[in-house]
């Protein structure tokens, strides 16, 4: 419990983090939903854990849920919960992927094809 590692593990599975109804609702974030920090967290904010702060630091540039999870070595589900808290606190902004029905935008296909050809 005294080492950073055990503290870290403890918090990953802390049940209340995973079960609060408010955050459950926000847990629908896609793996590719992007998060970017819009208000820096200084570490003195009430209710923010080290993981929240780590995410806020990471997301100075836009990163997906999957990337945040990989960089912090946390399950994607845990990152969704933590992002919900940060969103609620006004620390981050999210960009969700286009809904499936909207993945029809001709401009998007053109841009992606041009971008891939230019690689």
């Amino acid at each position: 419990m005294n080492s950073d590692d055990s503290l870290y593990d403890e918090q990953v599975v802390r049940p209340y983090v995973m079960t609060r109804g408010r955050t459950e609702a926000r847990a629908k974030l896609d793996l590719i939903t992007l998060a970017v920090t819009v208000r820096p967290a200084t570490g003195v904010e009430i209710g923010l854990d080290p993981e929240h702060l780590a995410i806020a630091r990471l997301c100075r540039r836009p990163l997906s849920v999957a990337e945040i999870a990989a960089h912090l070595d946390l399950p994607a589900g845990t990152v969704r919960v933590l992002l919900g808290d940060l969103l609620h606190g006004g620390f981050i902004a999210l960009q969700e992927p286009q809904p499936e029905v909207d993945v029809l935008d001709e401009r998007m296909y053109r841009a992606v094809l041009d971008g891939l050809r230019a690689l």
């Binding site: 992007l34 990989a70 969700e96 891939l116």
Partner: protein
């Protein structure tokens, strides 16, 4: 739930592409060859959606089963960012496929001519789900070489599903595969919305 950054800077729109296929067929290799970042690994925790897959009755606290996926990223200017996910090889993780496939622009099914049957579940899945997909035959050095028509026949694919050869280790080859996929997906989008 979506909120733009307060400084007015627009975030790119994320787009998901899937790389599917059997175990050891080169999914992560392909992700790595075209990605602008070193492939990362993320884990999804098995949730109550696993009912019917794993019987958790009596061990309700056992919610830590995870499945790992490798993924990479390709930025397309300032407006879009592609995320390429290698789907978990094991069929029992279909629930992650559902999560992954939701909103995906399309999928590449990687095939190995030495174990062609390994890609049947992927082909089946995307056909049933209606996700646009193409088949890319990863040309392993010691694998028998078949004509694309033979592979197409063996996979019982419709005439409209593109099949191409690739070398998952080579960036330009992976790039060609992704271009073919996006072109195919573009052709498959509902005409009513054009």
């Amino acid at each position: 739930m979506v909120s733009g950054p307060s400084d007015g800077k627009k975030l790119p729109t994320p787009i998901k592409l899937l790389i599917a296929g059997g175990f050891g067929v080169g999914k992560t290799t392909m992700v790595g060859s075209v990605s602008e970042i070193k492939p990362l690994r993320t884990e999804e925790t098995l949730t109550d959606r696993s009912i019917g897959v794993d019987d958790l009755s009596g061990v309700e606290s056992k919610t830590t089963t995870t499945v790992a996926m490798d993924f990479g990223r390709i930025s397309i200017g300032d407006d879009f960012v592609l995320y390429l996910f290698g789907t978990p090889g094991q069929e029992r993780f279909w629930f992650v496929w559902d999560e992954l496939a939701r909103g995906a622009l399309g999928a590449v099914v990687l095939a190995d001519t030495r174990r062609l049957a390994d890609c049947f579940p992927s082909v089946d899945y995307f056909e049933r789900r209606g996700t646009p997909f193409i088949v890319a035959v990863n040309c392993f050095d010691d694998a028998p070489q078949y004509a694309l028509d033979e592979v197409k026949l063996a996979l019982n694919l419709g005439p409209d599903i593109p099949v191409l050869l690739c070398d998952a280790r080579r960036r330009d080859s992976g790039k060609e595969v992704l271009i073919a996929l996006v072109q195919h997906a573009y052709g498959r989008r509902p005409l009513a919305k054009v």
